[in-house]
Symmetry: D2
Subunit: 337 residues, 4 copies
């Protein structure tokens, strides 16, 4: 960590701060320049963060040298983690596609959609029983009844099921019905939920918050690992920017960045990433090309009457066409679908 003192800091400030650094068990460094006094503190930066040196009025800025996460870091754990959800192995050589409707609406809708996505080559089923909705008047999911349907359709089709948990109070029942837990974008920094999910032994699909820096996404994953759960997949699903032509801006730069910094696998959700049905397929191909470990895609047997996210849901025939165009791209980058 590098600490820059204000130009008007009294001469004794450097000495006092160096003493605090040393008392914390770190190696202090003194670099007096002509325009600024710069101090260094070498060692575990998480200890340094606790010193809160940026709060000192004599300090102009504090610049970290190391990443603030540790367990998720590739520096400590160089080999790729493979997360297993049912028969899927996310993070190895395969490219896995998880598909399904935004929400469990009814048995027929869910079963028809599941059968269709499986036939087209999906290896996991996603659907929400608890739905976050911007307005209190929107359809918020069927809760426990939806979970039951999801489990049944998962068993019937042999697809592992992934579903969102929004509140610690619902965790027990969801754990009993799902093969993996999704933490949605709006809850990426719901720290109570992260801690509770970290104590379960189910794999976790953690979506990036819509205004979360990648570093914050990795720190959210660190919460899960720090609580004991190492089966974590992170998901790029689009960030909020000034551009309004699409619902979000899919940040594919994040894929190589995440693969470089962490051993955890990463999926891309081009449905939320674009918000527009026509753009899901090209962005799915782009995700495969730049190194993602798989996709999370919304498909509905009839999106025109979907209770939520219909505008970004594919028709089954569109999903089938996507899988067909996806295969050669996945192969071109040396993976298997």
């Amino acid at each position: 960590m590098i600490i820059v003192l204000r130009p008007d800091a009294a001469p004794e400030a450097a000495q006092q701060i160096l003493e605090r650094i040393e008392a914390a068990g770190l190696k202090p460094l003194h670099m007096p320049g002509s325009e600024r006094v710069v101090l260094g503190a070498l060692g575990d930066e998480r200890v340094l963060a606790e010193l809160q040196l940026e709060s000192d009025p004599r300090v102009e800025s504090v610049k970290p040298i190391l990443a603030p996460y540790k367990l998720v870091s590739r520096e400590l754990h160089p080999h790729d983690t493979i997360v297993r959800i049912g028969g899927m192995a996310i993070g190895g050589g395969r490219f896995e596609v998880i598909a399904g409707p935004c929400a469990v609406e009814n048995r027929e809708q869910l079963r028809n959609t599941a059968v269709a996505v499986k036939a087209a080559g999906a290896s996991g089923l996603r659907a929400g029983a608890y739905k976050p909705r911007t307005s209190p008047y929107g359809f918020a999911g069927h809760g426990p009844a939806g979970l039951k349907l999801l489990r049944e359709v998962g068993d019937e089709t042999g697809l592992p099921v992934i579903t969102e948990v929004m509140d610690t109070a619902d965790l027990d029942i969801i754990v009993n019905h799902a093969d993996a837990l999704q933490i949605g974008a709006r809850n990426m920094q719901n720290f109570a939920l992260l801690r509770a999910v970290g104590k379960t032994r189910l794999p976790v699909v953690l979506k990036r918050g819509m205004s979360a820096k990648i570093e914050e996404l990795l720190l959210a994953a660190e919460y899960l690992l720090a609580a004991g759960n190492e089966q974590v997949v992170v998901v790029e699903r689009g960030i909020r920017t000034f551009e309004t032509a699409t619902r979000n801006t899919l940040d594919l730069n994040a894929i190589p960045y995440i693969k470089q910094k962490t051993h955890l696998p990463v999926l891309v959700d081009p449905s939320h990433g674009t918000g527009i049905r026509d753009f899901v397929a090209p962005m799915a191909l782009a995700a495969a090309a730049c190194g993602a470990d798989g996709l999370l895609i919304e498909v509905h047997e009839n999106p025109a009457v979907a209770l939520s996210d219909g505008a970004q849901s594919l028709y089954p025939h569109q999903f089938e066409a996507l899988m067909a165009t996806l295969r050669p791209v996945v192969k071109a980058v040396g993976r298997e679908l």
Copy 2:
């Protein structure tokens, strides 16, 4: 609501969609133009939202005419709501200042800070017992022990206490210790929490999410009112933008916008809005000048050793100076401090 059809929509599309509109009990309108067919649907737009017309592949775009919120809207409820927290009346002619440390650290720190802010003119005390922290290694608050200290210091000083609730599981104990509940920026769209807090009878201080549009903030408030709690104060606390010179970008445009659209009172938090101690006072003055109903300010007896948010916390003497410069500005805009 205005529905624009795609140029390639079949001629019968208009008729079919108009029938859906009519079946939903709304007044349909047909506007065939030379380049696009435009349809209208007049009536309660929340019903229309359920039709999910944007999911129809023959629809190019759907443009709402009315705001998606209702209970918080000034159209239905033209008079200002006044929220009472202890002796404070937020939203009337007074300008109220709530101050205190980021977190309850210990009895002495809390009491000294509380005594200082009260002496300087604050009328409410804020401090967290449960702290959201980006890293799992940060200080996360003392929980129940912190709540107890907060209640005691509140009683001792006569200041009503406002504290954050982060999880539905903690709600009962917090309700028993606090005079008002704060919902933090990261939980603005924690809908399970909004519903649970809406069922309490404590006033709520709802902070804008760091990437929330104002409309989404008002919809989050709508959750609270829809659940039965009308004592809601919204807070502008800075949004996330490309600018890195400050921690957030304080969006003061939001103040006159919110005052125009809703009857709920609005506070400004210049501490999080800037993240930098030196800029808290000017932004507090700006907030008073543009119509805010009060401030939420972080003050610590010794910010240089604060366990969190020290860099944006004022020293007691700085808070006192701020209150002195604030009074003439508040008076200049016709309010009382």
Copy 3:
């Protein structure tokens, strides 16, 4: 165009505004609802824009139905435009790669880089003689001397040369030396420059501004076409967002969006789009996968000593490796490299 009146607009407001619409030669529509009066104006929306109805204090909002651009629109011109620069045909079935250093530094640097990128399969050479630099103390290019070198190396290697024009005063000399003109991100809305470049007959490579909406990019292209130049290629090069892990956020959503809305070809610049050498290759592959017509890539014979943009410039061997991994991806999406 849809015009929504304020709830407090006087009854005669609708009539007066409808008369203005009719007087402008458009078809007026009146839709009185219970909560708002909505007016419609069908016809050429560019005429309507001139009415500036949003300025009327009785108007709450104005919602356009049609895109504000016309000449660049695929609605009027459904077939893909192919832009020819030397032997390149951008926008047809081929995938074209333009590569070269950020700036012309000296003959040896330029020639070595050009020879290397040609050998690896690039079909165009890019390099700047006039460089926009954030600081007045940065290297701003060699101007006319740089142009001369660029022309010579282009002729020697047989690569067409693309170079940036920053000021109308430099246009004549650049036109005499280049095969295509680049308008940089910072000048995307330099309207005097757009008009002047539109009057030349050289192909134009127009980069998206770092905070430009796609619609604004297409309107900037519309300036060029309106001035008579139809040989326009647009470039996605990353937008400015809150994310600081990469220099910009490459917005690949823009590719299918642009291909849907306009007949003009589109390139991707993953060098500026990421700002980081290691991420150029994966983003180049992603661009190919999602439908871009080619790439603009920075390559330098020795980036470690480059005078500008070295951190995002590829070494020649990295560019060669990129071209090798690119070929199967380009082929997988049905194009030729």
Copy 4:
């Protein structure tokens, strides 16, 4: 400047880079830590920037210690610069208000508006003869004829006139007609224009680009000072964010930040900063409260028929009311209007 090496950098990398630093005349520092080797380079950071050390593949990151601007910095020039435009003294104890229409439309419109704003207390007149317009079909100003009218009305009313220059080719004629030159948001990084304007002796009003960091605004100002023109006023006029409720997000945090970092005066433009007539007055008051040196406000004799920016232009009676509410706020913060 602090240079962090990659964990995999060879041991000799540090030595080689330290030699480059020393050869550039700077003081090198070596800080070998357990996880990273950190190097320091003390001295003039502008020299260091030329080393482009971030381009070296062995370097992980480069962290500047000092600001990249110098002439505009308050560190070198602690006293406030006062910029004089006609009778105005911007940057001293006074609070100056420049008002007028977006564009010169005709003599009557300009004269009526000028007379009205002068009567209400404005001390400068703004109006454009050359207008940047997003669409090529918008009104782009009357050019030289507009300049002539502006000069005449300025002389008639005794108000100094400020007008925008968009192209180096127009500079001579504008210099002959105006009292101060405005560089608009879209041209903040038109470096050819900055250099040319820097060579004139007219005061310059430099607007922040809509996605410019404050540091970039100050570097644009540095271009002007480096070219010899020290009469520079910078303007906060709103930045582009995800929020669509207002045209831009007025970043008032920038005001105390700019006042801390530079000796140049700063104005606020609440018209562009909000884009909505109703919010101009509250944001004008906020600007005065937080330390701005004055305002730039759009006023039109009849905004409902304005050829541009009508929706954000005040009616003369609204401007008069604003000035009345502004006076006590300006006085409350110890200034004079």
